[in-house]
Symmetry: C2
Subunit: 144 residues, 2 copies
């Protein structure tokens, strides 16, 4: 299987609003008023958690199918903690991004706990978004 | 400044479709047909790149304001490379997520190249999403 190349292109729609094109989809990213925006869309760090939730759902169903688990539903709650001082340029020893990310997944199915622990382990280890958050990835940002 | 707690909640809308609630926003994440989905929304790994684009736009404007650079516009193109074998459970030595992420930012402004290199360095180091992708973050995924 060849590597997939995933591309998005974005145009600024103002100081906090970003218009993103991902294939045929237009996504609006903005900030809430308390972070200086006009609240026209979810914000960048919420987009990351939404990507993680989407990935856990896809992987949850894929692995459940392989294990013969019938999933009637899946709820995922995610919380990330972040100190905004660094992004605002204030002196801090904290990092810029989430310090921790916690996801709670609640599958609606008849599998027992031991089976679900195995399921979750496979989901987490094969989930691309979880991998990119938990581990380092070379990110190159260049001027054009 | 206290740490921000960012929360999203998600419900599965089927094997590939995820309905995400981030404050007052409803986001739909899905997969394209070639990845088994119905293409009702951008996919999880596109959401991550959209979050990065949004974050670079916000930070680009914030840092430009601090440096006295007047930004008339900002275009951001991002590409990530990923081998889907691991997510599909095929034998591979590759990781699950993006192996590399490359962003190209094109500011429309009158600043010279040396100034823009300084600008970009500050943007990258203070951007939460860039930090979470480039560096490790504790990600806890638990069963409820």
């Amino acid at each position: 299987m060849p590597d997939m190349r995933v591309r998005i292109s974005a145009e600024s729609g103002g100081p906090t609003k970003t218009l993103v094109k991902a294939r045929n989809f237009q996504l609006i990213v903005d900030e809430p008023p308390e972070l200086g925006g006009n609240d026209e869309g979810a914000n960048p760090v919420e987009f990351v958690l939404a990507g993680l939730a989407g990935c856990l759902n896809v992987m949850g169903h894929l692995v459940a199918g392989e294990m013969g688990i019938s999933l009637r539903g899946l709820r995922i709650d995610i919380m990330g903690e972040l100190n905004p001082e660094k992004l605002f340029g204030k002196p801090t020893t904290d990092r810029a991004g989430y310090k921790t990310i916690e996801a709670v997944v609640k599958p609606d199915c008849d599998a027992d706990k031991a089976t679900l622990e195995k399921w979750l382990e496979a989901v987490e280890s094969r989930c691309p978004v979880s991998d990119n958050l938990a581990n380092t990835t070379p990110v190159s940002i260049k001027l054009k």
